[in-house]
Subunit: 172 residues, 2 copies
């Protein structure tokens, strides 16, 4: 989320900082996802993550559109929250091997990423509405809905994967 | 989330590691929340956060109950995701001053915390169910439902706070 000093005196400024934070978070995800897709084994999981990578590129473009509408430069501000979540993801990928257990861990991680974004887009949409920018709120809501759908899709894939992970565990 | 090496060969082990991760995350929240409550100005926000601190103490106890049912020691495993989210929170508190704008930023941060936990408890509940431990799944679901309710409560408070933040911004 946005860090603000004494200079942030208005909701408009906080709003722009939150957008800069999300712009950085989306770029971090674009960079991390291909490695996660490689490490996944279940085709359904690989497909769901690949679709989300496509969407994430689109979320970056939507944020640029929002900056443009607000007359603000598209700047990135370090998002420590997403960095922390992705740090865990990278450790997981380095230390484990592709397996149904790894897939279960990946889904757990990916849902944390989605939920971070659901919270963050919910916040900026609320700020946009409050600032009377319903045009911008609508653009942000499109992404919010895609994050929610991606989370629901992962829950569906998880049911399938966890079943295989249990079997793998029992067969040891 | 849990980091697992080649030693994690079963869903049961991954499940315990995810619980250890959450046990650490809850302790981090218990430590951070009092400072956030101090920095908030709106009474409705202070009250919502104070109620959530009470609940968080209870979430710690529920996790201990879960470890006990599983015959596993209650251990903490560093949760980098929550650490990243709380790092942002602490920077916000250090750099800003109490105001409706600060309150709006605090709500944005607190909802990221809630959503991280919604994702994490959703994962461990699914693992518990998959492992045939519906008794443990029920305990974890109690906390999951409280996290969802806390998030909804913050959305409600946000409507009120954002309205004041806008006015503060306009009055500059």
């Amino acid at each position: 989320m946005a860090i603000f000093g004494p200079k942030v005196a208005s909701l408009q400024e906080l709003f722009v900082q939150e957008l800069e934070d999300l712009y950085d978070a989306e770029h971090q995800i674009v960079k991390a996802l291909p490695k996660v897709i490689d490490a996944a084994s279940a085709p359904a999981l690989k497909a769901a993550l690949a679709m989300h990578l496509e969407q994430t590129h689109n979320h970056v473009r939507r944020l640029e559109q929002v900056f443009n509408r607000l007359g603000a430069p598209a700047r990135e501000k370090r998002c420590d929250g997403m960095a922390g979540i992705l740090k865990e993801v990278e450790k997981t990928l380095r230390e484990g091997q592709s397996s149904p257990i790894m897939d279960a861990a990946i889904i757990g991680a990916a849902q944390r990423v989605e939920h971070y974004e659901i919270a963050a887009y919910g916040t900026v949409r609320a700020f946009a509405e409050r600032l009377g920018r319903s045009d911008v709120a609508r653009v942000l809501e499109e992404t919010l809905n895609e994050e929610k759908a991606a989370d629901a899709k992962l829950t569906e894939v998880a049911r399938q994967i966890n079943s295989q992970a249990t079997v793998a565990g029992l067969r040891r």
